[in-house]
Symmetry: C2
DNA sequence: TATTGTTATACTCTATAACTATA
DNA sequence: TATAGTTATAGAGTATAACAATA
């Protein structure tokens, strides 16, 4: 036994892994169902959840390339092309050539895009906000605390 | 002023609502991205996350009608028809006529379906489990605690 | 007439593979 | 030759509307 893991260590890792597997099993369907429900809450049918999320990232993080945005949103570049085409058709984002690299493109939220986010936030979030408001203060705090965890899980 | 809400009460509700709206704004994109990533982790390409979730519900809760299952999974009945057709084609669920009501159908996980879940759980959950195992014990506890909250949000 | 389930249809989301332009 | 982006194509997921069978 070269690395000679201690029995305690081995037992511990095994427990963590089975615990994690069980957590994955219960967490995954819940995430799936909640996302499905949220996705269907369309106040303005023309801008979907996918489009809005990309637009928000662009507005929050500033101009970037389509590839970089695809990385943020965890989609493949061709998917982002589609998303950006729709947002651009609505005048919510703009494309400009990259100053140095002729292959790249710089995408940015337009003023209309930012205005859209501000307006939409109230109407669009109404469904989820209303439900969140029904929770206790402590429950909202719990959700607020795990949000970065969700991002870390998606990013790893 | 008939109901005469107290100024303090009014202020409090407003604060809760704006806090909830802000939480919705940050939580929603994170849920979307994580679900997108989880959905793409396909070990066995033939059974997708949507199919597996329905199958698991059926195995856990026992036989039920397609309409009832649609309600559980938060999809519309025609969507569940599609899901069940795929599961049935794979022999993972079975349809039987309802003993009393000729309009209804009873859907159940088959033995093969249950065996599939047991086998798949390890491989399928590997991606998420591995990442969950990297979190601290406390972080996993937090996630475990909010899972029922996610279900309540989806159900309300 | 109301309910359950299915079929028909359409649209969004998303991926992989192949192509174009630039570095 | 490698990289950034796009186009082409395909499949999954899901909805609404219309229909059939049964209550």
């Amino acid at each position: 036994m070269t690395t000679a893991p201690s029995p305690a260590g081995a037992r511990r890792r095994s427990r963590v892994e089975s615990e994690a597997a069980e957590l994955a099993s219960i967490l995954r369907p819940s995430l799936l169902r909640l996302t499905r429900v949220i996705r269907n809450q369309r106040v303005d049918l023309s801008v979907t959840l996918t489009l809005l999320a990309a637009l928000m990232t662009l507005a929050n993080r500033g101009p970037m390339s389509p590839g970089e945005l695809a990385g943020h949103e965890r989609v493949q570049p061709p998917s982002m092309t589609t998303i950006l085409a729709k947002l651009e058709a609505k005048g919510l984002v703009s494309r400009s050539p990259h100053p140095q690299d002729g292959r790249q493109v710089v995408v940015a939220a337009t003023d209309a895009g930012r205005a859209f986010i501000a307006k939409e936030r109230q109407a669009r979030d109404a469904w989820l906000s209303t439900r969140l408001a029904r929770l206790s203060e402590d429950e909202r705090r719990q959700l607020r605390e795990i949000q970065p965890l969700l991002d870390r899980l998606a990013a790893l």
